[in-house]
Point group: C2
Chain length 337, copies 2
């Protein structure tokens, strides 16, 4: 009796993609909270293609370095019957475009193998874990309205967006059939991304804030009128935790949600930087127009209604000043300790 | 030189799902036309899980009885490098719902194996066939507006609809990457379906016309106010042939199209039957309300704008009288010969 009661109240959590930027922040937040939706975390399994760092504290944990798309890996992760699964693992957009087979293998087959492992496990004995899946606004492509509604079609313009859109469909169907209790969340572009500049076409959105705050020059390849859709890393973690505890009875058959975010132009980003960090920081932004990047970014979503997600209690930022302050609090304050 | 010139002007066609109702009519139409888009048909391969009937005439043909989802089958079909491929093969909605694994194997994996076989063939030597894929209005699910626009999201409420929606995404991505020249067409509900009554929830839409025209009683399980979206089998074949010769440069990245159709209520169907076949035929319809069927049908699409398809020259029927007359011409006239 005791162990049964404990089992009902405790939560065994699996994080796939735990070594990534959002994954690491999610694990830290789970450890800090110690619970999800009022249930104490009893065990944590962290998986990624590279070994995730061990979480601090005394919580029983397992670290797994494995590729979800390889035979047996998903079954191995699901054998422990985690109550809650975060699936964040993916090949990023640029790599999925450069390596067609790898993108489909990791982003589509990996997710399908995970869903199949859960379905097979549910056929042995009742099992229906909560699965929180990170999708992307890359499922949307031209033609796009200036504000995208919750019922807009998916016409992805990249293989990455295609793979995410397919996984959303699978998540909804496996949930409808009762094999899993899925929630897919379409993340806005995350800003300010910590770390070094990368070659992603979206990199400058973070770079023009992050580099000047560190006293370094940042290149701006597009016009200040370019408008895009943002949330902070802190909000991304908040979305994941909210999805983990959400009453999925409210979702009906529509298991995938565009997350709330902040629509801001590059000019508004720069104005916010000026307010938060002063004109010297703004002066470190150097305009070097890049028609290739400008062309890519021109096809990207600018804003979403995100009515359903807001009504379900998901909360993002309301100003770019707030996004910059979160970066300072969560990244720079730690560094200067 | 001669064989090269011949190759450019001729067309080698593969029909997958050639033994089905639409497949058989398509093959008959291809043979009657002898050409597609001005190019003479030089060879025809007819494939299905059961051996398709041999086409009449003197055209070189190959009959293949094989399951597309089995290893090597797609490669075998693509080895002859067909210029034009019609992919109509699918497990129907009811069976895909009853047998989860079979539905995903045939409807998703079969199509993906076909796309992969084409991609691999294109890596040996330049190859980019036209692929016409039959999707379905089952990709749409609740909540639905009374008239569905060309940019409405896919929220399928069946595994069949999920599989079709996924194949649409794959078709678009493989086309965007240049591996195939795909056109996906979402067929309306086909009426009047020839043959015996079946157990499909949609069966009555055809049955209340077909059975009375044959002097037999037909059951009507829903209210006369139920509205749905129709095209004749002749239009379905017309859509396929039009898609085969379409200038796909006009499609951009959006390779999938909701076909035009006719929105009609059951009451309008019955009124048309009265006009075409008289009150005796109408008197053979027996109202036997079935709450289960009524419930299923209540979630189905009622009408589409289909603006893009109409602008691209796809043409459906404009009255149910026309749909009934086509059934009489194409099915009953043959029987009475």
């Amino acid at each position: 009796m005791h162990s049964f009661a404990k089992r009902e109240m405790d939560m065994n959590i699996l994080v796939i993609g735990a070594a990534g930027m959002v994954g690491r922040k999610l694990v830290a937040a789970l450890l800090a909270a110690g619970q999800v939706g009022g249930k104490a975390i009893s065990a944590l399994t962290l998986a990624d293609v590279v070994a995730p760092a061990a979480p601090g504290g005394t919580l029983p944990h397992t670290l797994v370095a494995a590729d979800l798309s390889q035979p047996g890996v998903a079954e191995g992760l699901i054998a422990a019957r985690p109550d809650l699964i975060f699936h964040l693992a993916a090949i990023v957009s640029g790599e999925a475009e450069a390596d067609f087979e790898k993108g489909y293998r990791i982003n589509l087959d990996g997710t399908r193998l995970l869903l199949e492992a859960i379905r097979h496990e549910s056929q042995n004995a009742p099992y229906r874990p909560r699965l929180v899946f990170t999708s992307s606004i890359a499922v949307f492509g031209e033609p796009l309205p200036s504000v995208i509604s919750d019922s807009h079609e998916h016409t992805p313009l990249t293989s990455y967006g295609t793979q995410k859109a397919i996984c959303e469909l699978l998540l909804a169907d496996y949930s409808r059939r009762g094999f899993v209790d899925g929630v897919g969340i379409r993340l806005p572009t995350i800003a300010v991304r910590p770390g070094l500049p990368n070659k992603a076409a979206s990199g400058f959105f973070s770079g023009i804030i992050r580099e000047p705050l560190a006293g370094q020059e940042a290149l701006l390849p597009v016009d200040e009128s370019v408008r895009h859709w943002f949330a902070s890393p802190r909000s991304a973690v908040g979305f994941l935790l909210h999805a983990a505890a959400l009453d999925t009875g409210l979702l009906g058959a529509q298991r995938n949600l565009s997350m709330p975010g902040l629509a801001a132009t590059v000019g508004e980003e720069i104005a916010a930087l000026g307010r938060v960090a002063g004109p010297k920081a703004v002066g470190l932004i150097r305009r070097v127009p890049d028609p290739v990047i400008a062309g890519i970014v021109a096809g990207w979503p600018q804003a979403f209604e995100a009515k359903r997600a807001r009504a379900l209690g998901f909360v993002g930022e309301t100003s770019f000043d707030e996004i910059i302050r979160i970066h300072i609090e969560d990244e720079l304050a730690v560094v200067s300790k």
